[in-house]
Amino acid sequence: MNRDQVRSTFLELIKPHIRIADTGAISDSSLLVNDLKVNSTRFVDIILEVEDRFNITIPDDDMERFGRVGDAIEFICQKADAA
């Protein structure tokens, strides 16, 4: 899976959690909680869905890598490559 595919899959996956009207404004620099208004409590669910979708394991300590959309995508790409 290349980066564009990872990006598109990740955005699809977080879509139900996003609480802003204009989803077209999402960029790699968007902060999930502050910009996209994702309920921080639901971060755990996003992590589980990412694990299932990309067949990877994300240690609890790495949850902080999901602050920005771009950082999350880079992290998934690294993990998926290593898998």
């Binding site: 139900p16 959690h17 609480r19 309920n39 409590t41 639901r42 971060f43 755990v44 669910d45 589980l48």
Partner: protein
């Protein structure tokens, strides 16, 4: 001392979802009891239940995508009934970013809370070594206060948001508690009522206790038989009933529609003594509860013209009627009208008192009494009451209704509703 009125209602019941549908179902004497396939598969003795039929469209409309993913049936029923009640009270539609409403509280009780989440999800995942897979919402779904917390968030409530629990007296107790909060001037409005999950894990315990009806699995609509000589046990049910109790001054200032006045109410216990136990009522406790509720309401026993009884369709019905007769000082022949909403919807356990209160208030406001079905073979010990129990819907301009609920733990709760006249 503030006067307390009802300015909105919402309902998710086994025989109807929504106020208009409930009013029709009551008037038509329509039963909400049906076959319960899961109970049959699991070899329950009782294989019928009252399960609300909530369509996917209704659930989506009321809960929204996030709550839809992260709720259970107790929360779902409570949210639908509460939002209907809110709209019915003509209050502004809730917005995610609206201001906190500091003038409204919620008391939404339950007997068993998120037991379906516990039984269907938390226990199997935990026992299977998959704790990490429980996700974010298991914690909020297993809280006893799961229903009131979700409603409080959706509506942005800044008053006390809490959950009471006293078994089958829960729903009426919530209304009584709300009445006192408003009467004492602590808050303007309270969403009050209860919600109970649709879950075999609740009903299994009642089946094991041998208190469920097991002789009518082939005829579900005839299974719940309050006041009948062949009453053979309760029929388990689920749902939610929510009422908006409001300070009269507040209701009048915003020109709200008023259904009825709550004249007073009380919850007490019988101490599990003198005939009372964990599962039975001390008759003196019931009598005291009714009489003190009437005193608080400044109502005379002779003024009560309708009782919506607890009346579960068990052998306790005759005892309950004798207690009510003694409490009012009225012979069976001279009793007010009596009906049992459970004959139509089964026993909604914690939610029973609030679903039945919605029924009582609708009947007062609309001038009718619904049929108390399945008592054509009236219980011989209380035969003289039979003419006071409508077996078909009748027109009746009742003024004062007494709602009684009795709960395991020997808990009694009574409330007096008065028809509202502008």
């Amino acid at each position: 001392m503030n006067r307390v009125v009802i300015t909105g209602m919402g309902i998710v019941a086994p025989n109807a979802v929504g106020l208009d549908a409930y009013r029709r179902a009551l008037n038509e004497g329509r039963s909400g009891i049906g076959h319960a396939a899961q109970m049959k598969e699991l070899d329950f003795a009782c294989q019928v239940a009252g399960i609300p039929q909530v369509s996917d469209d209704t659930a989506r409309e009321y809960l929204g995508p996030e709550l839809l993913r992260n709720s259970n049936s107790c929360m779902k029923y409570a949210v639908i009934a509460s939002l209907e009640c809110w709209r019915d009270a003509n209050l502004p539609p809730p917005q995610v970013d609206s201001d906190v409403d500091w003038n409204t509280a919620a008391i939404i009780g339950t007997s068993n809370g998120g037991i379906d989440t516990i039984g269907d999800f938390v226990v199997p995942e935990t026992d299977g070594g998959r704790v990490r897979r429980l996700g974010s919402s298991a914690a909020e779904r297993v809280m006893a206060s799961c229903a009131s917390a979700s409603v409080g968030g959706l509506l942005g409530l800044g008053g006390q948001v809490t959950t009471n629990s006293s078994a089958c007296a829960t729903g009426t107790e919530a209304i009584v508690n709300a009445y006192w909060m408003i009467r004492e001037g602590r808050i303007e409005r309270v969403l009050a009522g209860a919600s109970e999950a649709s879950s075999v894990y609740i009903w299994a315990c009642l089946d094991a206790l041998r208190v469920t009806m097991r002789k009518s699995n082939d005829r579900p609509e005839a299974a719940c038989r309050p006041l009948s000589a062949t009453a053979g046990g309760l029929v388990p049910a689920a749902g939610a009933g929510i009422l908006m109790l409001e300070n009269l001054a507040s209701a009048e200032s915003r020109k709200a529609h008023i259904y009825a006045e709550v004249l007073g109410g009380l919850t007490n216990g019988g101490g599990q003594r003198n005939g009372g136990s964990i599962t039975a009522s001390n008759p003196e406790g019931v009598r005291r509860c009714v009489q003190e509720a009437l005193e608080i309401s400044r109502a005379r026993p002779s003024e009560i013209d309708y009782i919506n009884g607890h009346l579960t369709g068990t052998t306790a019905d005759a005892k309950e009627i004798r207690c009510l007769s003694a409490a009012l000082g009225r012979s069976l022949r001279d009793m007010p009208w009596v009906n049992a909403t459970k004959s139509l919807i089964g026993h909604g356990l914690g939610a029973a008192g609030s679903m039945e209160s919605v029924a009582a208030v609708l009947q007062l406001a609309d001038g009718f009494l619904h049929a108390s079905i399945n008592c054509e073979d009236f219980h011989p010990e209380i035969a003289e009451l039979a003419p006071r129990v409508p077996q078909a819907s009748i027109s009746a301009q009742c003024q004062l209704a007494l709602k009684t609920s009795l709960g395991f733990g020997d808990i009694n709760s009574c409330v007096v509703y008065k028809r509202w006249q502008n």
